[in-house]
């Protein structure tokens, strides 16, 4: 017994040691990749409106929220493609887990490395504000995504305009519900800016176009899933119990739609209660196939991040950001600039996912 334990302990310790030593190796990887990219920079860079001559000089970092989620594996593909296409020294980094304080450290490191531009998905704009301000003071340009409220940034590129996305979700839900009945919205947290903008836009669209539809009263009009599949499922069930005439859900976090679908199926409400919203193919495949879910929406993060980095490169190259700028990725060929805030820009990056196109998206997660 003792020997077995010792072996187990030894294996665990070795594994841990390996785990530790592999961490710095991983952080080496970007620069190795970058040098590979540099060596291949002799090849003519793909377009994207860039002047090829200055392309190899910039060093651009993409800061994601964590290293675990498949989403950020896909963004990394976009970063890699961008590096290949433009010959720019670019790489993706992110904290161990989704923790704003850890993300601040990542940015600090990048400041020390003296990159030219930081592209970032801020976990929490407020927490990140000082360090991004510091980056800009150090002459580093800051480009954000999913963070229109970030003060310290040069430009923010959203995959799509919230109003347009929200309206699209509502149009879809309304058509499924026959343009009548009660609905509610679900967000990760009521403090999440993007999710709430989408939900607001969806509600605005309903008020404008679908007079026979009705939002649930009071604070239950917007429930929290805590970005947790299990909670989304439990909350949806609770809502359906409390509001027997509830007929529709709009889910904004990627955990919302599959959680709501599971609740609908289990409560025996398939075909009576409808749902749409942001959704990943893998998590929704069975619901799309069973018909509980007709269509959910997503954008290809590889494209949106490719476009964000292209925007960064164009600005570094000295181009003026104007509407219609082509950022070289699907859905980002015609840049839209926000009417009130010229530092906020939009693409049209989302795609509807149905049981038919599920396997032809080019991404599956």
């Amino acid at each position: 017994m003792k020997k077995v334990l010792l072996v187990v302990l030894a294996v665990l310790l070795m594994a841990t040691a390996f785990g530790c030593s592999s961490a710095p190796a991983a952080s080496e990887a970007p620069s190795a990749g970058a040098s590979a990219a540099e060596s291949s920079s002799a090849e003519p860079a793909a377009d994207g409106g860039a002047s090829a001559g200055a392309s190899s000089g910039w060093k651009i970092a993409m800061v994601v929220k964590d290293n675990v989620n498949a989403w950020f594996a896909r963004t990394d593909e976009g970063v890699q493609k961008f590096a290949e296409d433009t010959g720019t020294d670019s790489f993706q980094v992110g904290p161990e887990e989704i923790d704003a304080a850890l993300q601040v450290q990542v940015v600090e490191d990048l400041i020390a490395q003296d990159v030219d531009a930081i592209c970032i998905y801020p976990i929490d704009p407020t927490t990140l504000e000082p360090v991004l301000a510091k980056a800009r003071e150090a002459g580093i340009m800051v480009f954000t995504q999913e963070a229109t409220t970030q003060e310290s940034k040069d430009y923010d590129l959203e995959p799509f305009a919230p109003a347009e996305y929200g309206a699209t979700l509502m149009d879809q839900l309304a058509s499924e519900m026959g343009e009548e009945g009660t609905y509610c919205t679900m967000v990760s947290y009521v403090t999440n800016v993007a999710h709430n903008q989408w939900a607001d836009a969806a509600v605005a669209r309903q008020e404008e176009a679908y007079p026979n539809m009705k939002l649930v009263d009071g604070s239950d009009a917007r429930v929290e899933s805590e970005d947790n599949l299990e909670r989304a499922y439990e909350k949806a069930k609770e809502m359906l119990k409390k509001y027997p005439d509830l007929k529709g859900f709009i889910g904004t976090s990627s955990n919302d739609v599959p959680g709501i679908c599971r609740a609908i199926e289990e409560l025996g409400l398939s075909g009576k209660v409808f749902v749409t919203g942001t959704g990943l193919p893998s998590m929704n495949e069975s619901y799309l196939k069973s018909g509980t879910l007709k269509q959910c929406y997503l954008w290809d993060p590889a494209n949106s991040i490719y476009a964000l980095m292209m925007l960064a490169k164009n600005v570094l190259d000295g181009q003026t950001v104007q509407s219609g700028m082509d950022l070289g990725a699907d859905g980002f060929n015609e840049l839209i600039i926000d009417e009130t805030d010229p530092t906020i820009t939009y693409g049209k990056g989302y795609v509807g996912i149905t049981k038919d196109n599920l396997n032809d998206l080019g991404f599956y997660f």
Binding site: G19, R231, K235, K241, K242, G268
Partner: protein, 347 residues
């Protein structure tokens, strides 16, 4: 009332389970009054369903607490076991007995628990510090070595999660809820742990060690061996809980699991387990876990505004555990009070 039944009554009043049960009944009534939806067949099934995994965890926590220790690593252990098991099942396309994933996850859990036990017993370190450290190790293994990504559940676990005992229907609304078969896993854990704690010398040894390790050693209990068992057992339960959860949520989402340890520890304390060890029951723990589950699954039904839900849950933990601890401290009378002694001396 005769002396004996009076004593029994007093003892009942001094038990935490009693108060928790009253609080549960009160909250259930409150929800019923506010929504008219609590005592419906499908809602009750939903509550039981949501309580299964927290209960298994809670029982694990109870066993450690009884021994006078604390384990902060059971959730990372569960995450690790859940991730590895699910990945193996996915990669091999395993479709044999459902026992296999449980054996695998249980084995991983026991191995992790054994690491805790070895460090705790060999170096005689505070259990909180050790398990805080190992919880980072386990999370680190998950992220570093296995480069874990969120995955959907493997077919066999999907099947486990969707298999049901019966479907409960609310006659009025027509809503249905499935009672998952995983309820049997919880029942199994409850029965085995109950027998262990109540009817085995080992189980009584856990209480003894939690009461006074020095006295336990002198009485002839093998304290180190008991502690070793305790941490392995928690690991086992964590592994089981991890796989159960994967099945029930149809996904191996370990990130949403990490960070729930304190809520579960709070539920156990709420159920009357003494954080200093030696006192606590399965009944109490199950009640505590269900109280937390009921509350967190009924905030919408009660009508707590979204913005206030976290506050409400937090307040429940503080008040509930406060009552528990107050109850416990009231019982620490120790020797007679000054007055009683004086009277006795006067004869």
């Amino acid at each position: 009332m005769n002396e004996l039944s009076k004593r029994k009554w007093n003892r009942l009043l001094s038990h935490n389970e009693f108060y928790i049960a009253i609080i549960i009944v009160a909250i259930c009534l409150l929800i019923e009054v506010r929504s008219g939806q609590f005592f419906t067949p499908n809602n009750l099934v939903d509550i039981v369903r949501s309580g299964i995994v927290p209960c298994i965890f809670g029982i694990g926590v109870l066993v450690v607490m009884l021994s006078g220790g604390i384990d902060l690593s059971f959730v990372p252990i569960a995450a690790l076991a859940m991730y590895i098991t699910n990945s193996v099942m996915l990669d091999t396309g395993f479709s044999g007995s459902i026992v296999v994933p449980f054996l695998l996850a249980g084995g991983i859990g026991i191995a992790c628990g054994a690491l805790n036990a070895v460090v705790i017993s060999k170096f005689n370190l505070p259990t909180m510090i050790v398990t805080l450290g190992t919880s980072s190790i386990f999370t680190g293994l998950l992220r570093g070595v296995f480069e874990a990504k969120e995955k959907t559940a493997s077919p066999i676990l999907m099947e486990l999660g969707s298999s049901k005992l019966f479907t409960a229907q609310n006659a009025d609304s027509g809503l249905t809820s499935d009672m998952p078969s995983t309820l049997f896993i919880l029942l199994g854990v409850v029965v085995v742990t109950f027998i262990l704690l109540r009817y085995t010398t080992l189980g009584r040894g856990i209480y003894a060690v939690g009461g006074d390790p020095g006295a336990a050693r002198r009485a002839g209990f093998r304290v180190t061996r008991i502690q070793f068992f305790v941490y392995c057992y928690v690991g086992l339960l964590a592994g089981i809980a991890g796989v159960t959860r994967t099945g029930m949520s149809q996904a191996a989402h370990f990130t949403s699991l990490l960070g729930t340890e304190l809520t579960i520890i709070a539920a156990t304390v709420l159920g009357g387990a003494r954080i200093t060890g030696g006192v606590g029951t399965i009944t109490g723990t199950v009640l505590g876990a269900f109280l937390m589950t009921i509350v967190s699954n009924s905030l919408v039904l009660i009508g707590v505004p979204t913005y206030w839900q976290q506050f409400f849950t937090g307040a429940l933990i503080v008040i509930g555990t406060g009552i528990s601890v107050y109850q416990a401290s009231k019982k620490y009378r120790g020797s007679l009070s000054l007055d009683e002694r004086a009277k006795e001396e006067l004869g």
